[in-house]
Amino acid sequence: MKTDELLINMGPVHPSTHGVLRFKLTMDGEIIRKCEIVMGYLHRGTEKLGEMKTYMQFVPYTDRLDYISAFPNNYAYTKAVEELAGIEVPLRAEYIRVITLELNRIVNHLVMLGSLLLDLGASTMIMYGFRERENALQLFEMLCGARMTFNYIRPGGVREDMPEGFIPKLNEFINDMEKRIDDYEQLISGNEIFMGRMKGIGVMSTQDAINYGMTGPSLRGHGVNYDIRKLEPYSVYPDLDFKVCVRNEGDSFARYMVRIDEMRESLHILRQAVDQMPQAKPVSLAKYGIAPMTGASTAVSTYFPRIFTPPPGEVYSRIEAPKGELGFYIVSDGTIKPYRIKIRSPSFCNLTAIPKMVEGLMIPDLIAAFGTIDVVLGDVDR
């Protein structure tokens, strides 16, 4: 039977496009014949702004890229600057950084699970996810006072040491989370309707997933053992025992399960980090030869000056952010400002695979597949 095709604009303002994303869908009834992604509604020119700020001034801008997981963005930029300028960071600061990164990974996955289930029509998980996120946010608030755009990690270390009472509260969170993840599994993973909506939906071959430049849990759901924490170990990850969570099915359910597994693994990392973290608070300034600021109360950060000039050169530094590979390419011309900044964000690359995943499926499948890609539009439009 011949039917007319219908052009539907899904977004830029739509309950399920996670911000301002627009899908141009050519529909045959409820079947998607063609899916085109239109981005750029949130473009803020962040990379250009970076070239107009000093190295230190740009740090708060990174918080706003992926606003669900600000710490990894902070850290990815900081790591690039540190590599560019050859700065060494105290060990305790590195452990604190890993704690924030892994906590933020859990927070990110909680938001992802909540919004995925909300996209599928089940509103309970987002409340549970945000309940646990709130506990983590309280920890973040203790560290840096912020509850969303956490600005804590910076070149040379972290802003200041953990406050008193942080570690007991963190342990409480870890113990609580372990039970909560079991609850989520009971609520979601074994649910027949959920499996019916996720299994065999948004399937893509491993080769395609690699070709589209997917990374992070979205790629690991396609059977690819690719985790920058293992491939190019950074910070104190080499001293920590953890495994890379991989699933082979390459469908929405696999991508969801990778996140569940990763949350458990992050808790495992957190436990180790708390145990192994040195109690001493060394300050490493030798390399840069700058005296500590007078009156400083803590000794975790490296008392790094606000304005400094890395030697001319370039660096591409990447980390395993919760959503995938997050990289900063920075070119220095030896002045106080970067000559060029380019960000490789995971959401952008992962998103490009959506048309391949959903053509021939239905609108509800697009929503399910899109939910498992875990996109934040701040991370797409920079």
Partner: protein
């Protein structure tokens, strides 16, 4: 005792000594039918107020149940425990701007909300709320219920089409597909009950469930028709259009589906109709399978108390079904439209037919006599 609420009202008026003098006055004037009209209008007014209060209560209850499941508070500021929240919602909705899209079909767009709301209230007419508490014991009560509940998809189709919005149209199309798929197993499961009672009257269906087996198991049809009950319940939730079957609106896919373009009181009409539907469909489930207002040993109560107690029993059972629907909504995600249709056509209809066949066979050979 009394055939319907009309007789109950006449009895009460007689009891307090008003009916005879008033009736005589009207008789001497030659307009005794006026009193009948007044009593019927009073009945309708009571029913209307009851329906509106129920709807308001359900909007509050839904939020409280969701809050309980999702570890939050729900309404708690306006009135004790937020009980005045539905009133405030009403005030807010009345105050909203009534928008009609430029290219909408104005008449159909305006008419559709009423067409959804009115049948939702009409369903209440043959519902047996308690012994003697029924507006009209229709001899084709069950048929009437199924027929009236089949009207709302037409109104939804009109709303979706008149909005001149693609999302609305898709929501409307889904509503029709869903309704056709689920009315069939719904009706077939109900027919199995009719085989037992030999009547379509809702009162007779409830009366047939009076009494007990072995002195303690209530003679409810759920025990004779467990499969029919499950099928009827699933189909009812689909008819209500609630999660996991809320395709017509499905916020995450179709923005708000058929009522995307509606605002203010027109939107409220859809909203109220949904809750009226929730109550009436749950009441039908109770009437057909859970014994309606009957309860073991209810006949031992003093006759004067029976209408009141039976009303209480009916409401408790109905709210239990409503609670189940709300609980379900908070627990499961939405199925996909093709999954819904294949469930309806490939599983529920064959099972309902099988259920009917087995029931008929067992009745014929005398197992259930």
């Amino acid at each position: 005792m009394f055939a319907n609420a009309y007789e109950l009202i006449v009895f009460t008026l007689n009891y307090i000594g008003i009916y005879e003098p008033v009736n005589n006055t009207f008789k001497t004037l030659g307009i005794e039918y006026v009193l009948r009209i007044i009593i019927v209008l009073v009945e309708i007014a009571i029913l209307f107020v009851f329906a509106l209060l129920t709807i308001m209560f359900l909007t509050w209850m839904e939020r409280k149940v969701v809050a309980m499941v999702q570890a939050r508070y729900g309404p708690m500021v306006t009135g004790p425990r937020g009980l005045l929240q539905p009133v405030m919602d009403g005030v807010k909705l009345i105050g909203k701007e009534d928008i009609i899209p430029a290219k909408a079909d104005r008449w159909v767009f305006t008419l559709a909300p009423f067409l959804v709301f009115i049948p939702a209230l009409l369903i209440f007419i043959p519902l047996p709320f308690g012994e003697s508490l029924i507006i009209s014991d229709l001899s084709v009560g069950l048929l009437y219920l199924i027929a009236i509940s089949a009207v709302s998809p037409i109104a939804i189709l009109l709303a979706g089409w008149a909005s001149n919005n693609k999302y609305s149209l898709m929501g409307a199309m889904r509503a029709v597909a869903q309704d056709i798929s689920y009315t069939i197993p719904l009706a077939i499961s109900a027919i199995a009950i009719v085989l037992f009672t030999g009547s379509l009257s809702t009162v007779e269906i409830v009366t047939a469930q009076n009494g007990t087996w072995f002195g303690f198991i209530p003679k409810w049809f759920i025990f004779l028709q467990p499969l029919g009950f499950v099928l009827f319940l699933i189909a009812s939730i689909a008819e209500m259009g609630r999660i996991p079957f809320d395709f017509q609106e499905s916020e995450q896919e179709l923005v708000a589906g058929f009522f995307t373009e509606y605002s203010g009181m027109k939107f409220a009409m859809f909203f109220l109709a949904e809750y009226a539907h929730l109550f009436s469909v749950s009441a039908i489930v109770v009437t057909l399978f859970l014994g309606g207002w009957s309860f073991p040993y209810i006949s031992l109560l003093p006759a004067a108390l029976v209408p009141l107690v039976s009303l209480g029993v009916f409401l408790v059972k109905t709210y239990a079904v409503i609670f189940f629907a709300m609980w379900l909504r908070d627990t499961v995600p939405r199925v996909r439209i093709d999954q819904l249709l294949s469930l309806g056509w490939k599983i529920m209809i064959p099972l309902a037919l099988l259920n009917l066949l087995v029931t008929g066979f067992l009745l014929t050979v005398g197992v259930f006599q």
